[in-house]
Structure formats: C-alpha cells, structure tokens
Amino acid sequence: MRMPVEFRIEDILSRDRRAIARAVTALESGDERMHAIRFSVAEHVGHAHVIGVTGPPGGGKSTLVSVLIEALRARSLTVAVIAVDPSSPITGGAVLGDRIRMGAMQSDDGVFIRSLASRGHLGGLSAAAADVIDLFDAAGFDVLIVEAVGSGQSEVEITRYADTRIVICPPGLGDDVQAIKAGILEIADAFVVTKADLPDAARTEEQLKAMLALRTDQSIVPPVMKTVAVSGEGIAQLVDWLCAREHKGTRHLGSPANAARKLLSKLIRADGYARHLGLELIEASPGSATVRMEVQAHHINFNGRCHGGAIFALGDTALGLACNSYGRIATLVDGQISIASAVEGGEWLVAHAFEVSRSRKIGSYRVNITRARNGQYVAGLHGTVYLLDQSLQVEGS
C-alpha cells in the first residue's frame, strides 16, 4: 500500500494549517504515518517554548490560556495551543469544551488551537500529546501552550513535555491547596492564583508561599503570581516572566529516545544493504527499532511472492539497529525466522525489534514483522547477539 498523500512534511514545516491539522489526526489515530511524521519533524524541534498549564477542574485554565494568547500575540509571538479534554470511559465520546473558552483571536492565523480527547489515557494528556507538541514545534510556532485535563493530582505527565510548568490554583479550594502540593509542588516552575478577584485570593497566595517554604530544594523558589482574567490584571507580569525564561533545549531533546533516533538514522543511512533493499527506519528508542520496507520487483522470488531472504533482511536490520542503539557494537551470532504468511509485491511490511534481555556480553532480541495496512502478523524473528567492548564509529550525518 502507498502512503496516502494528504499532507506533505514540507507543508507542515511551512505552516500549512490543513497539513498540520491532518498530521495531528494521524498522530492521534496512531496510524502508520505517525512514524514518518515523528522522524521528519525530529530534526526541526527545539525552537518553541512549551508551556504546560495544569490545575484543578474549573480552576480557570482555559480562561487564563485565552488571555495569555492575546498577550503573547501582542508581543508578535505565534502561539499554538493543545487543549486536552477527558473522554468518557464508557462511550469514548467527548465534548471538547476548552477551545470555546479560549475563544479570543478566533480569526488570527498566528494562533492555532487543537482540541484532543484523552481517549482513556491517564495522566492528564492524550497519548499523542508529546508527538503533537513536536509537530507544532517543527511547524515553527514560537510558543506552545498545553492545557492538561484537570484531575486533581495526577496530571504530572505534563512535566515531561513542557519547558515551563504553570500550576494554577484558584481561591476557595480550602484543603485542596494541600492536595496540590503532592508531587506538583516540586515540579511547578510557577504558581498562578487565578480568579484573584475572588475574596479568598490573598489567603490562597499565603498558603502556597508557606508550602513553598517547605520545599526541600530552596535554590530555586517558583514565583506565585495572581491573575484576574476579565480585567487582565497580573497577565503582563506573567508574560514578562515567561518571556524572560531560558527554555531552549530544556525539553526532551537530550532524551535517550531522541539520541537513539539520531544514532540509528545515521546507522541505516550508512548501511549499503539496507539502502539496496529500500529499508526505512521509522522509530527508535534505546533497545528497540522499527523499520519498514515496500515489497518491490527486486524482492520477488520465482513464485511471484516476496523472497524469504528479503523478509529476513528486513527483520535482521531492525534487530541490528535495536541491539546497536546504545552505541556499543553488537553482532548477530544466531537467528531464526518463522514465516506465517505469504507477501505480495506492493505491500508494506513493518519490522519492530525489541530487547528481550541484555547482559554484559549477550543480548536476546525479538522482531515482529507485520503488514502496515492492517497490522497482521507476517513473520517472527529471534536473535542472539554478542556485545563487543567497542563503541560504534559512524561518520557524520
């Protein structure tokens, strides 16, 4: 199967709104284009300032985001917003309401808002959120704001993807202020007392400050700011603080997964046989790699089907990348394949290799080969590798 041509990576990078929106859908649905998008955007991330906004339900997150958008636009910054709303665990349906509360600047092309349903994903985000953040980053938006589902204390997931974490805390939560401290106190870069026009605001601010004084790490004390959405009070101060933050590269750019992606894309480009077969790396992380292949005329055997050797080569390549993903040379000493289904020309195969075990000298890896079209199992490969005491040497990109 050919990849459907409904958006091109160039269009995403040049900020074509329709292409971006469709790519988000592909990421959300987890279809096969997801990998291609991940890889294409990986080189272009690291520009945007990613701001996570979290806090209790109804606390004023969306309203705050809406005034932030206006203030950031007034400083000529482009803004993309990812608003995550919960899906019903029973029907899977959702009413995506955040966006409407962010109503301001509806016709401004410098603002792109996308609603995502959590689709059963816990942790306050959607499973696709990290990928969608990278996508908007690659598309060149200056600031990305992510509103996580307000679910009490469990929304800490945002901390992994944001450069700057804002925890909002409206007045009148009473003892719930105590609840906010669990986990979040240590990760927040700033606290915002929203709805500061309400009577209890000063007390909430005091309580937060008192709790911050108990933080184990007193080297950086996050500021506590107060905002009123209707009057815009406190917003300028918040935006000044945001704009002054040094954020570039603090996100996951140095993450192990990104390092593995970079290393393995170099390795597969340096591999003459992989090039000859037309193999393409579509995902990588430490200990795993996913490679795909379109079955073409030069893969076909005398029987008109895909040659078993080509299938083995596909699986072996994925396996080789997975076991070399730590930067230490590994070499196959034993491998077996079992083939469950014949493959025709024109089909796309995906080989996903992962680590079963790894000791000082020996690693054991498995590869599942499936049809890209429907995920149907085609073949399985198991291999044992020997780990050398040498690091990989790869020429630049």
Binding site: P4, E6, R17, R18, I20, A21, R22, V24, T25, E28, S29, G30, D31, E32, S87, S88, T91, G92, G93, A94, V95, L96, G97, R99, I100, Q106, S107, F112, I113, R114, S115, A117, N374, G375
Partner: protein
C-alpha cells in the same frame, strides 16, 4: 491501527440564538462515542472554517431555526475555498422544501427536519464521518 472516533462540530451561524437543539444534539453525539466541539450561536463563517481546519473535523452540523440556513451556501463556498471539500455538512432545522434543494445543490450532505429521530441523526453523522475518513486513503 486504531481508528479515531468521528470528530464533529456543532454550531450555529447567523442571527438566531436558540441553541437548545444544538445542546441536545451535542450530548447525543457524545453519548454515541463521538468527539464533539460545540460552539455558542452567532459564529462567523470564517470562524467555522478555521475551527474545521484546525480540528480536522469530519462533519459540521449546523442548526438553523429562522432563516439562517440561507447563508449556508456561503459557508459551503468558504469551505471549498479553504480546501475543505471533503468535510461533510449537515443541517437541522425548519427548512422549506425549496430551500432544502438549494442547500443540497450547494453541497450539503443531508438536511434533518423537525421530528427526525436522534438515532437517524447519529447514524447519518457516523456514516458521513466514516465515508470521509475512508476516502482519504
């Protein structure tokens, strides 16, 4: 490979502000497992187009009492101009037969009249959403 639930925008353009109907439909589509964005009434056509673009909506449902449906052909044109020819539009409300014909000619996929069953609406929206997602591949 998972398929996403249908993504639907329920909105009102024009001057009429009665949105009880939209609210009922929104709840009903959500309960049928769809992801719904519900907007307040009085939306501008350009806002609906931006919304549909950014959200990659499958279906736009317009509720129209009064004579608001007469500006729907303008919406259809704006959607086409934005390259959103594949987004399905359905209209619900009090629509005279001759206007219905005009709407269908303008590209509206389906018109629901008062008394249409919620089940019928849900099924139609779902199959329109699916036909859009499939035509992409």
């Amino acid at each position: 490979m998972s398929k996403r639930p249908p993504k639907v925008i329920v909105t009102k353009i024009g001057f009429d502000g009665h949105d009880r109907g939209s609210r009922v439909i929104t709840a009903c589509l959500r309960d049928a497992g769809m992801e719904v964005i519900y907007t307040p009434p009085w939306q501008e056509i350009s806002t609906v187009v931006k919304l549909a673009t950014e959200e990659d909506a499958d279906v736009i449902g317009i509720s129209s009492l009064a004579t608001d449906h007469l500006i729907i052909p303008q919406l259809m044109k704006a959607l086409r101009d934005a390259g959103l020819d594949d987004v399905k539009v359905v209209v619900g409300g009090i629509i005279p037969a001759k206007d219905e014909k005009e709407l269908i000619n303008a590209g509206v996929a389906k018109v629901f009249h008062p008394g249409s069953s919620l089940e019928d609406i849900v099924n139609t929206v779902r199959s329109l959403a699916e036909s859009r997602t499939h035509s992409e591949v």
